[in-house]
Amino acid sequence: MLISISLLILFLPLLSFLILIFFGKKLPRQGDWLGTAILIICLGLAFYVLLNTGASDKFNAIYNWIDLKDAPGFGPVKINLGILIDNLSAIMLVVVCLISAAAHLFSTKYMEGDAKYNRYYAYLGIFTFSMLGIVLTDNLLMMYIFWELVGLTSYLLIGFWYENPGPQYASKKAFIVNRIGDVGFFTGIMIVYVFTKSFTFSEIFAAIEAGQLTGGWLTAAGILIFCGAIGKSAQFPLHVWLPDAMEGPTPVSALIHAATMVAAGVYLVTRTFPMMSASALTFIAYIGLITAFISATIAITQNDIKKVLAYSTVSQLGFMIMALGVGAYTAGFFHLVTHAAFKACLFLGAGSVIYGMHHEQDIRNMGGLKKKMRITYLTFLMATMALSGVPLTSGFLSKDSILAGTMAFAGLTGGFNYIIPILAFLSAGMTAFYMFRLVFLTFHGEPKNKEKFDHVKESPLPMTIPLIVLSVLSFFVFFSYNPIDANIGWFAKYVPAVQTVVPEAQRFDFQKGTTEHIVNAESPASETHGENPAAVEENHSAFTEAVHHAHYPAMGLSLFVAGMGILLAFAFYKWKKFSADAVAEKIKPLYTFSLNKWYFDEFYEGVIVKGLLMLTQAFRWFDNKVVDGVVNGAAYVTERSSSGTGKFDNSFVDGLVNLIGSVVMFFGLIFRKIQTGRIQTYLAYVLFGIILFYFIFRTM
């Protein structure tokens, strides 16, 4: 039953896509109501699924897709497709449907009058479909397929206004940068498949537990699969696509860059979490940390309202990844969910502002909007507080658990790893600062652009309703009735930590020994662990203990840094105690460094792209001089020996390819000429063919 409902949820958006792309133009209002209605239905169904899925429930439907029996030298080749509904996918279903429905509704006004209105809604539909596919699948292969589909559809959405060079460039960049990560992802999948002969998560975990994939290969597989997340979730060093992707329509940014596509990477790591070895986890943690820190520093100086949000997204994604890396599984996923709501709210709020300001995006030209856009302001402020980690918000809960997790991790592993909590707290402080800076510059103070300001009106209802809904969801009550401790909320109970399946030698010290009896008790292990909440209590006992101890210090510290950040923002932009410009002047090198986004794009452009170009130049030189020399030499000899054989082609490889091409074309031409149009010639050929066959085969 739940499986059928989930299939319905999956395919309804696809239906919306098909109807809208083919018949959208003919429907009233180009069918936007259809897409929106479908998504709202999906949302309802998703809630139904969530309510009917217990914390330890697993509904799995498997369809045998390809069965090739035994392949020589490999074993049975069998590929299953499957749907898996468990706590993770149930929650993600709701999140994706919720944000998508909000974006649909919001767009009815925001995109009104666009020339490709129906196509826009169609794209939203197919994008939602692909994202839901990622969420619902129970195996890596299907996940990869939908992963690519998400990449493709996000390309369409980011480049929706492809008439302009900006979106064109941005969509290409997003696509290409994602491909780099996907290569790693695919390689990882293949490694896993070769060792475990399966794509299905539960089978893979069982096989790893049985020791079929260990050692360096296991770590490599983990890191390579994580590469997919690096691309999709915009982690360092592939984070460069996300800020540029702001060229797309703003509701799209809310959908793709708050809750769905970028969350897919985090979701992937969550799903594959049990197979990550200690080394892979450490790698993940540091990537997350670096991402969180760097993008927080960049966000401080950005002046485009969407760019600030973009870098803040990258930074928050870094937090989630880092949380998973340090083993704070629940906290990472929790942050994914809370962040989805308030970040979508922020993006849609930004959309509302941009709509009101007639496509003005520079915050230096805004100011004072508070009075004119009451609802937008309040919702935006609410979401900002959540993102900054102000108490009583959902963001406070989730960020606090992450920070506690990093502290616990540092405490347990010690040494250099203390840098993780230090930088994490710093980033959290910066987050509070740049978010309040954004609020002050946009909504407070004097309007900078009087002319535009006069025309500003509050956005219409279809735009404000999603804002209100999403901002309300930023309150703590939806996740835990205790405003300072998430651990006693339903969420932590619903998504308990999972048991790792990697061999003991490849676990962190604090993971060792503590769970041995559980592993034994559950053999043969065919499912992921953590089904029994009592067992989970004892799982990770060392880590859980440490987190517990770190909870209050972390909370205090995080309150402190957030407070400091907010205070600074007040000092700079509200009370004007200091001049931001003056400070920027003082630390000019740092400022420009941040403003220019750490020169990542320039670095890539300068070193990698240029380097590649130079490499190709070098190859061309090599080609021209050396290979050509050899070839020309050979040609010279050939020419000498048989005059007039003609020149060889410019380069060897080209020549070979062309040669094959020409051979094909040549034979094509010959065979084509055989087709004389004269029936009797044909018949003579037939007889000739029979004779030929006779003489070939009579000797056999």
């Binding site: 087709q675 004389t676 149009g677 009797q680």
Partner: protein, 105 residues
């Protein structure tokens, strides 16, 4: 002294010769009706085979029944082919197969 006793082989040689002559007509004669005559020769050759094998293999009269069907089919095919040739003549004012080569390559 060669064996002049008439046997299966004699009939088969005749059928092979008919078959060869039919093929020759099909491949070399320009007139479409001549080609049809060639096809008839081929079918007759096959019929001789059926009946000869039938007699010398002691196979009842199955071969003869088969040859009846072949004759029926030959007639049907000739009818259709001639209708098509007439139609060609109406359109092209010629029935020379080698001049009708607009569809090619």
């Amino acid at each position: 002294m060669p064996n002049f006793q008439i046997g299966l082989t004699h009939f088969l040689v005749i059928s092979s010769l008919l078959f060869g002559l039919g093929l020759f007509a099909v491949v070399t004669r320009r007139n479409a009706i001549m080609i049809l005559m060639g096809i008839e020769l081929i079918l007759n050759a096959a019929n001789i085979n059926f009946i000869a094998f039938n007699k010398y293999g002691q196979l009842g009269v199955d071969g003869q029944v088969i040859s009846i069907f072949v004759i029926i089919l030959a007639a049907a095919e000739a009818v259709i082919a001639l209708a098509i040739v007439l139609n060609i003549y109406n359109n092209f004012k010629t029935v020379n197969a080698d001049e009708i080569d607009n569809l090619k390559e």
